[in-house]
Subunit: 401 residues, 2 copies
């Protein structure tokens, strides 16, 4: 058996490339990233011909980047050094706190993924390597708890004139209690995102599994639609085949998606055992998805009792012709007359959308419309949005309310 097993291994390596060959045939077997016992992390890459190797990631102190539009902060960088085995290495000077981190290498100016790490996440058109510093209390790891189901499902949109895909999370036990009905959180992505953003970049599956298992959130269905009405599905998963992602899609913020949202709610209420009422529905979104959540909940005030705006893209929409954007304060007044159970606004102090959010809160304050406000550090980043979901989900659907 052994020799044939070896032949199997060798053949697969011969057909899958050089990196695997090295591990078998005498080249150094690279482990990267390596989590050290003291919670520092070592990055390694085998790039013998390189003249300079840099790692850039969100575990390093941020650095300012000058652009024509102003100065922004970007993930920090560190330089790798060549060790005695001719491998390039860098170890973080300090232990890292439990968190999901992302990084990539820059080899002689070319941004590349870590060849030794298959764990990667795509954010719009950038693919980064990731790793988690876990601990027993973290919400992002897959812990040994009951797991919900994640399904990729297609619904028909009359508005788009096409079948469109969405992601549906059903909590652990859904199939075991056929008589039970569940509340639903609709969770919306940002510009350039799609129905894969929250389950992948957002760790929504793990966050919900862990919160529910700890009794910190109600068992709920989470629906993650694709907010780009001009596309049927994430790039590669729809009939536009292998189209690349884009930040600039038509009809993303012109009212079309918002107006068509009841199509999705009807589809969900028809195909899952939901509690199809306002008290059992929440809507939340990040950035563009916060903008969508604001306008959908305002347009359909009897649909959602819980609203979450995460770093919401709140800005003037003068000149955008859509019935959805009409009568901004009037529709908000109607919504707040219905006493929503929770209107939750969160943003980072460094977010470029901080001021527009402040102006929006001024409107709420002036009118005496109640909301909960959470301000964190940091900017317009996924680390904040994972945190916001982790804090928002426990507030939803309490039967004692």
């Amino acid at each position: 058996m052994k020799s044939l097993l070896s032949a199997l291994l060798l053949t697969v390596c011969a057909t899958t490339g050089a990196s695997a060959q090295q591990a078998l045939w005498g080249g150094p077997a690279v482990v990267s990233p390596r989590l050290n016992p003291d919670r520092t992390v070592t990055f390694t890459i085998n790039a013998p011909a390189a003249r300079e190797v840099i790692v850039t990631g969100d575990f390093l102190p941020e650095r300012p980047v000058q652009t024509p539009a102003g100065t922004f902060s970007a993930p920090g960088t560190a330089t790798l050094v060549r060790n005695a085995d001719s491998l390039w290495q860098f170890t973080t000077p300090e232990p890292l706190a439990p968190e999901l981190y992302s990084y990539s290498f820059i080899v002689d100016g070319l941004r590349v993924n870590d060849p030794a790490n298959v764990h990667r996440l795509r954010d719009v058109n950038t693919v980064s390597d990731i790793f988690i510093i876990p601990d027993s209390a973290d919400l992002y790891s897959v812990h040994d708890v009951p797991h919900g189901t994640v399904a990729k499902v297609w619904y028909h949109s009359d508005t788009a004139g096409a079948d469109r895909r969405l992601t549906v999370y059903t909590p652990a036990g859904y199939n075991d209690e056929p008589g039970r009905r569940y509340p639903v959180l609709y969770l919306l992505h940002g510009m350039g995102g799609d129905e894969n953003a929250w389950p992948e970049l957002g760790r929504a599956t793990q966050i919900l599994d862990n919160l529910i298992a700890r009794g910190q959130a109600e068992p709920m269905i989470v629906v993650m639609p694709n907010g780009n009405i001009a596309r049927s599905a994430a790039p590669g998963d729809g009939p536009d085949s292998l189209a690349q992602p884009s930040m600039q899609l038509p009809h993303t913020m012109d009212g079309t998606f918002e107006q068509a949202f009841p199509e999705i709610v009807r589809f969900v209420d028809t195909n899952w055992r939901t509690r199809p009422d306002k008290h059992s529905r929440a809507i939340a979104g990040l950035s563009m998805g916060g903008y969508h959540s604001l306008h959908i909940s305002r347009q359909y005030p009897e649909m959602f009792d819980y609203i979450g705006l995460f770093s919401a893209a709140i800005f003037p929409f003068d000149g955008v012709k859509s019935e959805v954007y009409n009568d901004f304060e009037g529709k908000l007044r109607t919504q707040f007359q219905g006493n929503p159970a929770l209107y939750w606004i969160a943003i980072g102090s460094d977010d470029f959308l901080y001021e527009p959010n402040k102006r929006f809160r001024d409107i709420l304050d002036t009118n005496g419309w109640p909301y909960t406000y959470v301000e964190t550090s940091g900017g317009h980043i996924w680390r904040n949005w994972r945190t916001y979901l982790s804090r928002f989900a426990p507030l939803l659907f309490h039967p004692t309310r």
Copy 2:
């Protein structure tokens, strides 16, 4: 609105890296791969400091690779040249036939993914870029047809003492006909694979959607388990968190998974509307999954009426202690006395498992046990396994039989 939209774009770029910045701020916007009207393909990479850039992919003529274990064929290579814009480029000399192709770049000896292409597939621990040359008849593209649902589901394995994940495809219309019951194909991956292999590398979802929409396959449920009983889920999706993939996992071919297989069948028959009988069950697998299919169907002769061995890893298992491997011919005899509806064997003429498969067919021939044999060109590669699934699925579950 425009200026805030720009600020949104700029901020996201500042936080996601250099490649996006270039497209916005005057650097060349790279499109790669670019499918030309004559079906040639152009590859482009912006690597100003590089001294040599090579593309390697399965659309190029294969090349022999010498290894300590012998000579194997590997994907071909071509050298990119620097154009007037200082971009490295290569265009295929000939149009490409409709197919799913994979490739990567080698920049100064370092294997890297195409920074301009987010469409990538992981095969064990190697991530390759992919593209599809589509046509109206191809089975791998997402065509405008009704789509099934793909769910990631956890079941409890008493054998493993853990919850384990599997992928379940339910055909389009499953929710619309609540009284209808469906046959089930169990589809198994190879060594180093997992429950993501068939839906991703194997395009199983697209193949089934397209075959069913054309009336060429019966609507069926397809269950894609994880055949590595020592792991709960694909790397990154289980409690071993961000473990890297491995070809050498314990208990993959020692009978444990095969013996425990009825756990999975029971779980599926309990949670989906299956036709829970032999005539409505098929099992097939590639390489190690072919080995698993051979032994599971032999061990439980009343469970499956359709068996598919795709490039099956058929080899002597002397010395592996498991009841599953006992009485090889005796159990096969019992299985064939039950007249399986289809025993289907496929392999490529260049596959390193060609001879063991021939010896297995000799056993079947000697005993007069009927089977269907399909021989293709090529070796132990996903292109063949996608083809085999495309040819096997239409043969299953015909009600007229």
